[in-house]
Symmetry: C2
Subunit: 413 residues, 2 copies
Amino acid sequence: MSEHTNPNIWEPKFASRTDKMQASEIRELLKLLDRPDLISFAGGIPDPALFPIEKIRSAYQSTLANVEDANRALQYSVSEGDPKLRNWIVGHMATRGIECEAENILITNGSQQGLEFLGKLFLSPNDTALVTAPTYLGALQAFASNEPAYDELKLEQTNRTANSYSQSAKAAGGEVKFAYVVPDFANPSGETMNEQARQNLLKLSRELDVPVIEDCPYSQLRYDGEEIASIQALDIETCGSIDNSRVIYCGTFSKVFTPGLRVGWVCATRDIIKRLTLIKQASDLNSSAINQSVMLYLAERLFDHQVKTARDSYRKKRDAMLEALQSYMPKGVSWSKPEGGLFIWVTLPKEIDTSALLKKAVDEEKIAFVPGHAFFVNDDGHNTMRLSFSLPDVTQIEAGIKRLAKLVHSELA
Amino acid sequence: MSEHTNPNIWEPKFASRTDKMQASEIRELLKLLDRPDLISFAGGIPDPALFPIEKIRSAYQSTLANVEDANRALQYSVSEGDPKLRNWIVGHMATRGIECEAENILITNGSQQGLEFLGKLFLSPNDTALVTAPTYLGALQAFASNEPAYDELKLEQTNRTANSYSQSAKAAGGEVKFAYVVPDFANPSGETMNEQARQNLLKLSRELDVPVIEDCPYSQLRYDGEEIASIQALDIETCGSIDNSRVIYCGTFSKVFTPGLRVGWVCATRDIIKRLTLIKQASDLNSSAINQSVMLYLAERLFDHQVKTARDSYRKKRDAMLEALQSYMPKGVSWSKPEGGLFIWVTLPKEIDTSALLKKAVDEEKIAFVPGHAFFVNDDGHNTMRLSFSLPDVTQIEAGIKRLAKLVHSELA
């Protein structure tokens, strides 16, 4: 019989996968940055001023207005998700050039849960996931429990062949299982894949015979330029049907409406959706029925209007940040010019380490950002940072970038 | 380049764990049994007549009443869960004899998600989970993606020693990682572990040096008899503090209030909660903030009242079912006499296969139940069935059991 007083008593009993599941430095950091005296470019969360609070209140009232609807909204429900919401999403996917049916849609708790399920569905330990550098940190966390290896996906011209990816994956102890991208206004880079890059990725995925996970949380938030066809739509043009497509699309209502209800979706072949439904059932039975009803209410009445409102507001903020960067940043600093989304990616001269800079920025200038290194699976990005323009207002953005630029100036002096 | 037209195109690419994730026969069955002309004893879901709809409506209104609260409820939130809700649960755990702090609580999407996280935290492939026979099917599904082995936990007197469990686990290719029980009014058996059984289990867990997962979805729903101390409370009496305890407690608001909001919790050492918080973050970032606020509103104002209402209603239904079984079932049929929960477990003579009986029950008598075999990890239970008394009213219960008994009579004739 053993008695424990050590707080880590169970450490030896944990599954090996837990070694890969470390607290995200960036998320720990963000907790410290939640200070009202800071101008924060760190968050990357939607602007609450855009939440349609009145409409959401009406939506909950409506969902609970009669006993029959209320009983359905408050009960356990099917793991696939609310059939009516799935049908609305079918219509929405059509606006993105993707013809599908309700059986191609699974409702998830935000797209994060979709990513976690896909990791579980495809990755055995030491299998390789192809990801960009930088990439979305949450995806790396979602995949981590499956103990994968990563290889860098280059979206521009590259001399990597399918065979070289296969060989590397074999050397890592598994095989390539999928490529993961955020094609539109990526977190963290703000970059958008052009159509050629999308076709190149599809070609690579066919050569490797692996799926592409197309994560589209920001795709509605385009502020200028022409919409580029989604990778799934491009694939369907070639393969003829969603049920033959190798692209798995992750969507969410979090960025357009609100992340507080936790409603997102996956769109894929019905075989994959069936598999994911089993995973959903095992994971948490079903997403909140009432929140699905409310999201349907909002989507039916307000989606286009809400997209327009968000675009108009974020466009101004993006413009303010780009203008301030242009006005204040010294030579040798460059940044992405995103056509949408919430992020601008800044590259400083090599000699500046943005993790060290953050400490000074917070202490001396009361400015927060996310050091870019956090988004790399390799040792790159130490001189990069992610700036989000979603939360501060345009005056704060101007003032904040000015202060940040002052600090960069003094680092370079 | 390969083009696929087969619906199972990705099968060869799936991780090996997906082989273990089969559609639950019972859940597929339940879809067919959702027919209004049936009297269903199959479901096991809470009675919607008990949902406090008016209060839930007020709770959403209140949470969205002012901009500051609404913005918090509609935004991303911390993975650990709403601090105020965690504090309320601390108070609730105290009523169960468990002294803990907010750091010992993680909010999950119902207790199902807690079980899934615990499987992920402890089980490597071929590790052994000790479960009762029968056991909660959802737990088996929650653990399945980790490809565990199972060994049968006997709660009554047994000649299995800790060493024999260890040896079997070794033979299965891993080690014993935890014991899982539903101690109060178990799904599906309706049985409650007495204090001696709880102490015996703790002794075994100490000898094996493994945690006990104590799943308590029904613990508030006691209709008569004295409450028995929770296994976690008994363990804390011995080890002195929650942070030394080997018991991991899973709770939920689903059975007392509503499952539609997906709010449950895990109570464990703060080290385990920290680990589970990382898993939560990777899985879906956080549980719905608005639903957590609403559940806090309900719990603060209504918990005791709601528990009493539910007890009074379910007690009558349980009594009606026990009485009808007594009146109508032939000799050779036995059943559990649960002091709470939603289920009665019926054992028929060996020659009756309840899967075959179900077909006749549905076709000839318009009665549904769940064949007991579904709840066993071995080949047992073919002559058993789970009856839930939660959904039908007392008149339907009386009529339904009468018809079911008639069918059993004719099978034995």
